[in-house]
């Protein structure tokens, strides 16, 4: 290495690449095969309900990566990432609504909720969403633009720490209220639902469900590599330096405003992508995704798994979501208490998170 004229830290270690490849084969190939091949009563068969559930978990894991990128590395705690997730979801939802065509309850060209509200024509901001490419662009552009403008004002004014977190929380609350209104034009509190087709494929078709799951898995793997690429670059080290002492970074000649704005906007865009993949798999998007509690839960995923580890953040999303799936069936009233206890417990006893602590143990053992 030392003889190399120029160096860059590798995105993953050799062992890391091996694990990455193993996970890729497992999630992209093995799971779908185990769903399709074994007989219906085989113990090996991945059941029908599991496919969209796993796809949903992969979307959550993408959000966790995006949150870890800004919180674990740059020290920016967002309690409003649910907004970016939901906006990506709405952009996809609008395309799905438009592709219902005249098969809705009212047999109208307009989405059902507009007919119900007695609207005669499509609002201008729904134009273009009958085209998939346009909707796909908006999935990135809308959350990205909002984050850019929000970040521009917040970071320019040097708002940071808990003040920044509180403003992001207020932002998601404001968006939730805005989207709850019928007049806003996104279906009010019912949101967008009753989707039929994506790119001509029926969403009821098991093959489409597998396709969406595989797309989520590929997107997750891609987002993971993008995040690893950033945190292993010099830019990633600048972000960590911003976390440890922003003033010093400025006095070293870096315009921290640009660095924060870049990673903040990127994080929002990745959340938008996750939201867009999430919506067709769960079949609905409504303003409840913008509840303050949802965004807080995203931060809890990262805290539970381990900040500044990426892998830990994704695992945290799965641990917490799996616990939530189980508890909301077994003891629905208890879930919020369990979530709170989990957060407090991890903060007190595992400040580095579950995976973060395991990684620290391994580092300690190899030293």
């Amino acid at each position: 290495m030392a003889s190399d004229p120029v160096e860059r830290r590798p995105i993953l270690s050799p062992v890391g690449w091996l694990l990455f490849a193993a996970f890729a084969v497992f999630s992209v190939v093995l799971l779908p095969v185990l769903h399709l091949l074994p007989g219906a009563d085989s113990a090996l068969r991945v059941p029908d309900f599991a496919i969209p559930l796993l796809g949903k978990f992969l979307c959550y894991a993408m959000v966790a990566l995006a949150v870890d990128l800004i919180w674990g590395y740059a020290g920016i705690l967002s309690l409003g990432h649910g907004t970016f997730f939901a906006l990506g979801g709405y952009a996809m939802g609008m395309y799905l609504m438009r592709s219902i065509g005249t098969e809705g309850v009212y047999r109208s060209e307009l989405p059902d909720f507009m007919v119900f509200l007695d609207w005669k024509e499509l609002p201008w901001f729904w134009y273009g969403f009958d085209q998939f490419w346009f909707a796909a662009l908006m999935v990135f552009a809308v959350p990205g633009l909002l984050a850019f403008v929000f970040g521009w004002f917040a970071f320019r004014s040097r708002i940071r720490g808990v003040y920044f977190s509180i403003i992001t929380q207020a932002m998601t609350y404001a968006f939730m209220l805005l989207f709850f209104r019928n007049n806003t034009g996104f279906g009010g509190n019912n949101g967008l639902t009753d989707f039929k087709r994506l790119l001509g494929f029926s969403l009821q078709d098991p093959a489409t469900r597998i396709g969406l799951y595989v797309a989520s898995a590929l997107a997750f793997l891609g987002v993971f590599l993008v995040c690893r690429g950033i945190v292993t670059s010099k830019l990633g080290r600048v972000l960590e330096a911003v976390r440890d002492g922003e003033d010093k970074v400025r006095f070293s000649g870096y315009d921290t405003f640009h660095f924060k704005l870049f990673v903040w906007t990127l994080s929002a865009v990745l959340c938008g992508l996750a939201g867009a993949l999430y919506v067709p798999q769960v079949g609905i998007i409504n303003p409840s995704e913008m509840q303050p509690a949802n965004s807080i839960e995203m931060a809890v995923w990262v805290a539970v798994g381990g900040r500044g580890t990426l892998v830990g953040a994704a695992a945290g999303a799965w641990i917490v979501s799996a616990a939530k799936s189980w508890f909301t069936v077994a003891a629905p009233d208890l879930w919020l208490y369990v979530l709170g206890a989990l957060f407090v417990g991890v903060t007190l006893f595992l400040p580095q998170g579950v995976v973060g602590s395991l990684l620290a143990l391994r580092r300690g053992a190899s030293r």
Partner: protein, 270 residues
């Protein structure tokens, strides 16, 4: 990337930075004229005028509250003056520049308490301080050139931290942290170094090394040292400026300063 590797490594300043380097043809590198900074009516700097010559080693002393740290803050853009002018060379108006622009123009600062990137390794701390392109895009695709690595390793040798290059900066002892921050200044390679209390918490041997290092740096760099430790100031054999209540009380070599009636009064309270 299309840039030849060797030139990317040697290119210490981006073109825009060359355009904004200080003009020192008149001999002075820092012009502080009639600068006033007040906090809630208290004047931390009161109509202060001070010039620093290019390449000199200057010590600034003064009792607590004399305005030494505020002076550093004003020069580096952390605090804005309420009145007066601040020029780096005869051409760069520091009061119009942000912190990172001032740093890129060639003013480096070592804080009173060591300020490091604690979560990063010693090597990485130096890598970030290194004078290399510092924009989002350039850092995203940055590769560490052999020449750059060599400069970092040289700095590690100079400050005696070669054995601890891979350790986390947060784990270092206090004296080592002071040295690391000095090392970061070295690789940042500023024209003007502002050094706030460099020998606080250092052993005698370390103080001697610091004295030699700072004396070596003067000439090719301009060094301004703020210090309490009179023994250390005397050993630097530099010009000394005495601040008192935000104003310049006296200026000259240590001998002159020590015999100055007003300085004796301020320091001995009597």
């Amino acid at each position: 990337m299309s840039t030849p590797r060797s030139s990317a490594a040697d290119r210490s300043l981006a073109p825009s930075d060359i355009a904004s380097s200080p003009d020192t043809r008149h001999g002075e590198i820092l012009y502080i004229e009639n600068v006033t900074v007040s906090f809630d009516g208290f004047k931390a700097l009161d109509d202060l005028t001070l010039y620093i010559e290019d390449g000199e080693l200057r010590c600034i002393i003064g009792p607590n509250g004399a305005g030494k740290t505020t002076l550093m803050d004003v020069i580096t853009g952390k605090t804005r003056p309420d009145a007066g002018t601040l020029f780096f060379g005869s051409n760069l108006d520091l009061s119009q520049m942000s912190e990172h622009e001032i740093a890129r123009a060639g003013i480096g600062r070592k804080f009173q308490t060591p300020t490091l990137f604690e979560g990063l390794s010693v090597f990485e701390n130096l890598e970030l301080a290194l004078d290399a392109p510092k924009t989002v895009f350039s850092t995203l695709f940055a590769r560490l050139g052999a020449a750059q690595r060599e400069r970092i390793e040289q700095a590690l040798e100079t400050v005696g931290l070669a054995d601890t290059a891979e350790r986390r900066a947060g784990e270092l002892a206090h004296g080592q942290k002071q040295w690391l921050e000095i090392g970061m200044l070295l690789v940042q390679n500023p024209r003007l170094l502002l050094i706030d209390e460099p020998v606080a918490g250092m052993t005698h041997a370390e103080v001697d090394r610091t004295t030699r290092l700072l004396s070596d740096l003067a000439g090719s760099h301009t060094v301004v040292v703020v210090e309490h430790d009179m023994e250390f100031v005397r050993s630097l054999e530099s010009r000394v400026s005495v601040l008192h209540q935000g104003q310049l009380l006296a200026e000259g070599d240590m001998q002159t300063i020590q015999n100055d009636e007003r300085v004796i009064e301020v320091y001995l309270g009597g």
